[in-house]
Subunit: 298 residues, 2 copies
Amino acid sequence: MNEKELQSYLAEASRDVEQALDRLLPMRQISPEAAIYFAMRYSLFGGGKRLRPALFFAALEACGAKRDAYLDVAAALEMIHTASLIHDDMPEMDDDDLRRGRPSCHKVYGPAMALLAGDGLFIHAFAVLSRPLPGAAPERQLAAVREIALRSGLGGMVAGQAAEWDNMTRPVDQGLLEYISRGKTSALLIAAVKAAGLLAGADGEKLQALDDYGLHAGLAFQIIDDVLDVEGDDATLGKPAGSDEERGLVTFASLLGCDEARRQAEAEAEAAVAALAVFGAEADTLRAFPPFFVSRRH
Amino acid sequence: MNEKELQSYLAEASRDVEQALDRLLPMRQISPEAAIYFAMRYSLFGGGKRLRPALFFAALEACGAKRDAYLDVAAALEMIHTASLIHDDMPEMDDDDLRRGRPSCHKVYGPAMALLAGDGLFIHAFAVLSRPLPGAAPERQLAAVREIALRSGLGGMVAGQAAEWDNMTRPVDQGLLEYISRGKTSALLIAAVKAAGLLAGADGEKLQALDDYGLHAGLAFQIIDDVLDVEGDDATLGKPAGSDEERGLVTFASLLGCDEARRQAEAEAEAAVAALAVFGAEADTLRAFPPFFVSRRH
């Protein structure tokens, strides 16, 4: 699959997951809590790349399952990702006024409503995930829910954010930086591909392969994110470039320099693809993502 | 069951759920994310009444099930409740410096870590809830998870908080105030008793009775909360009395006056007990809670 084919795969995945999101979180204009729906939907439909849903779909494909029965799971992954972005941008965290070229949620709806919108999205994801899925045995579904909860929470994303925040003023080495990135970035990619494997009934060897894939793909993604913050321009990034350096953040780019960081991102992308050796051609879509993570411009 | 017996029931429920919490969230002192564990545990072990776990246990009893297999569910309910308190207290929300007589989480660990601690507890609750429960069929477990997610999120607690926040500056009548309280307070009580019913395999009639019970018990609880904020003193409440009025909040006490509010709380408590008519003596513990909600001093 070449980059153009991957772009059209991503566009189709976006359409599918956005339809599911709109169905699962319809606007409630005439309700005392209308404001939280405006805030959640503002951030949900803010032009994200929908990478986690797309990876989830590609992993279903690799494990021989169709996406139609599992669109809600893809939507739940995107709800969790969006919730984390809303909270990340808040004044007490990164204090980012812009997200994807638009004012961030708390700039538009205020920090209280942004806090609640994040909480609402985090929790609603699990309401969606625990709805009966006709396609999956309840045991498998519970295992997928648990995988997603662990990876997005204390066994992954939230733990990574806490580790980053608490080590802001300490000397950060590459080991710690990788630890943080495994939590902040890899964990939810692992959740996406492993939840697909669990729902599709993949065996232990394949689940481990998906785990390794998500880990390395996430590191490739994060390293390039750091490089783009140095090399990119505001318009392409949708946020001010150089914001990491301005905040005094230690990143892969600041620690290794952009050239060495790019080299390491390429090695991680190769490791991600190599992890899929146990799969045949059915994982070719999944194999197309890591090189794209490295070559992307924003 | 008299009030003294209920107090000892509550003490035992507290012991059980605190042991489960300590097991499910052990301190991680030597880890890059140690700070979030300090923050979560500070708030989790801050002397809460553990009402939701106790109601969950009492509802299990009413439905003929033993609590031992379901201690983790009780702990998850308390994690969700604690997460909501941490976020409620934050500067952008109620801006409360005190909670149960101690500095609130964000005063001790800072608002960023408090934000993450709340997120961590919300999400970890669902990691705990989706772990295989030997006692329950997976379908029933999924139904309980879904009930808890809906009631704590957009079908209950978070929606109620959003409705309250967004109507702060508008004239609030008793209808809207009840709507908000059904979300903010009743919803998680309903989740506690209905999750118990679902796990124990209660029939539709009993599930509806538990739903009605939780609704009315929650309103009784909230009305008295508002009254105590007017009539109580700082030391007994563990926070400054009169804080609702100071914030210009419309409450049952300000809308109805304390005497009429108390009368309505008693009526709600009676309605909660009446809802349990379908149960026999096995629901006597559950029946003891609503009168206690009305007679409590803090």
